[in-house]
Symmetry: C2
Subunit: 197 residues, 2 copies
């Protein structure tokens, strides 16, 4: 079965619609999805950006919000809602995601995106993550203990370095087994088609 | 009949596939296309950019080239070919385009994009534009005389200011009669659908 790497960042608005639809869509293409959370911060910093380009360039930021309202409506997702603080500090949800694997990582990630962009929650808030973990039947205290271990810290650093090696400069990004890179929610179908052929 | 403004910049790689397909596609949606060449330079300068973001951010630039190879292949366009100098200095073709109106402006614009991104020509070169004009049955000397009139200079300034008023920050961009802005070749279908409804 063909595989695809799905690189996503919890602060990334366009990663949200991809996270909500990639697993269903991948079934149609018979492609296995590897969910890989990473941090865009170090990559943006290397480009000289201290925050999201959507904050650096206000017209682009305003457009992105309107575009995502339309994209979410077209996909049948709840009305798009920006959290008060943007971009979110995504370290906590990214590390928590890496405490899980397989379907559980995907389910946790979708729940984070839903809280963030359908309900405007601050996903850097421990209480928000705690609520999500409980809703998934997990014991938050157990996970939070794991989150601060060196193994999980290293795992996130490894994922971010892997993204850099793939020359990823934004999220979401999709990388096929033969190393083809696709960027953006608009390229999800093309990436899966490439992976499947 | 519904109308749409198609804002394009001759140096913009993603404007190319939109220029090649917008008129045929607009027929399907029963929408009239208003071809509006403008200059991104002043808009980029206001954002603090001295050149294309594809030059400022090399990973993004490399990705854009690869992505356009795939996009052109998928659309049945000739193999994508970057001109040696990028971005092209687009003042000359933009002013020439404004010497024409209607179908002639569209035909000239498509011919410029074909020379630039299917054949790698430098469209700031008077000889390249001369050849294109001849191929369209125009008298280059007559057009070049018109190009340097104050009326044409003002027309291009007016188009660029109109783009700025629409909060356009990149090309191609599509603006419907009710002021809805769509950015990028990937949004052409959505823009036409919006215009038609």
């Amino acid at each position: 079965m063909a595989k695809i790497d799905f690189f996503y960042e919890f602060a990334s608005t366009y990663s949200y619609p991809s996270a909500m639809r990639i697993d269903d869509l991948a079934l149609d293409y018979d492609v296995e999805v590897n969910w890989r959370p990473f941090l865009l911060g170090p990559i943006f910093k290397a480009q000289g950006w201290v925050t999201s380009p959507f904050n650096l360039y206000p017209d682009k930021g305003r457009y992105m919000r309107r575009d995502l309202e339309r994209v979410c409506e077209a996909l049948g997702l709840p009305p798009f809602k920006m959290p008060k603080t943007f971009p979110a500090h995504s370290l906590l949800p990214a590390r928590v995601a890496l405490c899980f694997s397989g379907e559980m990582r995907a389910a946790f990630s979708r729940a984070v995106y839903d809280a963030e962009f359908a309900h405007g929650a601050d996903v850097s808030d421990t209480k928000v993550i705690e609520k999500i973990l409980k809703s998934l039947g997990e014991e938050p205290a157990k996970i939070f203990e794991k989150v601060n271990t060196q193994a999980i810290k290293d795992a996130l650093r490894t994922e971010t370095e892997a993204a850099q090696k793939c020359k990823i400069f934004g999220a979401p990004a999709f990388v096929t087994e033969d190393g083809e890179l696709f960027w953006g929610n608009d390229r999800l179908e093309a990436a899966l088609e490439w992976a499947a052929r």
